[in-house]
Symmetry: C2
Subunit: 228 residues, 2 copies
């Protein structure tokens, strides 16, 4: 894992592209930001943009692979007495607190998502890969031995949380549901929060997750909201 100049430059370029994209989107609106403009802002060719992002919209959303991986790790490392759902919840809260704390690019990103709902869908709904990875982590948590049985005997095994080579059919319904519920909590919390910029995000998320994890019992007056 060399962290040479090359790697640092790549990270810098990627970050610069993402930031430029978001800044431009806030300024002119998402649909008026071309790949050419983003690239020009950073000083690279449009072709290079696509070396970093598969699609234009990915630059606005900036799917954070490291964040996802930290969540998966946290789920696997959580105390055994925690239920799968609790493990996921705690892992997510830890990350979301972290994200909310950064009063920088994430603020702008939120602004962009508020303007362009379809990006919100893309960022959370469209990236089911994350959800599948999380489901796999949950499944591994439930089967501490089974998953590693077929692993290569060589010392250098791949990252346990790099679950993308797992057979989709091998992941049960329950882990999928846990991951999906968690993702749903995040998504709905963000959607709800985005219509109420005054409120803090964290309490909304906590409330959403708790209600979902309780199976959505009959609502209290407060849950209902002001209007039908």
């Amino acid at each position: 894992m060399p962290v040479g100049l090359r790697e640092r430059k790549k990270q810098a370029t990627r970050a610069a592209l993402g930031e430029a994209a978001v800044r431009l989107a806030v300024a002119r609106g998402v649909e008026n930001v071309t790949v050419e403009a983003i690239s020009a802002e950073v000083g690279v060719s449009p072709r290079t943009f696509f070396n970093y992002f598969d699609q234009r919209d990915d630059a606005f959303v900036m799917i954070d692979d490291e964040l996802s991986e930290r969540v998966r790790h946290a789920v696997l490392a959580a105390p055994a007495e925690l239920s799968p759902l609790d493990a996921v919840r705690d892992a997510l809260i830890a990350e979301l607190v972290d994200v909310e704390a950064r009063h920088g690019l994430w603020q702008l990103r939120a602004e962009v998502l508020r303007q362009a709902p379809h990006l919100l869908v893309r960022s959370l709904g469209a990236h089911t890969a994350d959800e599948f990875g999380l489901a796999t982590a949950v499944a591994r948590r439930l089967h501490p031995a089974t998953g590693d049985a077929g692993a290569p005997a060589s010392g250098e095994s791949a990252d346990v949380t790099d679950a993308y080579d797992v057979d989709p059919a091998a992941v049960g319904l329950y882990p999928r549901l846990v991951a999906a519920m968690a993702g749903t909590a995040v998504r709905v919390a963000i959607e709800h929060w985005s219509t109420r910029s005054a409120e803090a995000f964290q309490p909304i998320f906590h409330s959403a997750f708790t209600q979902l994890a309780a199976g959505l019992p009959a609502p209290t007056a407060e849950d209902r909201g002001p209007v039908g």
Copy 2:
């Protein structure tokens, strides 16, 4: 509501485009089906295609507005003693049974979704509008009077379930969660089912919904699936 020749032809063209798209996708794979090919198959110009579908992918998915509306109606019309969640579940089951029964285009559509997961995401995830409409219906169910208080006094009021002009901020968190959970159950069930073509869809959906509505208690051995 004149149902003249013009309207019938439009419906026919739309249906033909959707069907051609799906058939071609099954034959050559989704990514190898161009708008030009679809249009040629139907005998219209490529430009006309975009008069019917905003995006190419919409032709494969064929979002069924009528289905969504039936669900919303059913939720509003359900017996008062049913919880919101149960009302939604019953409405969805009724529709899904109906869909599964039609051994026609839906079979091919399912095949296409199995081949192209990103379309599945698009068809369900991208259609958060549906979810919002469902959430609004749930909210109305909880507030039978409030929502209509501000309605125009004129006799010709708009369809109660045409909820797209509702202020997003006016819908509470709970209705959103109910709609989102239902949508999640559908999505996960389809995803899970699409990896196991042998199993029937309905039991999977029922299981998914039930587990979600139970708050995902600790899993049984069967729920866990074979592998981590």
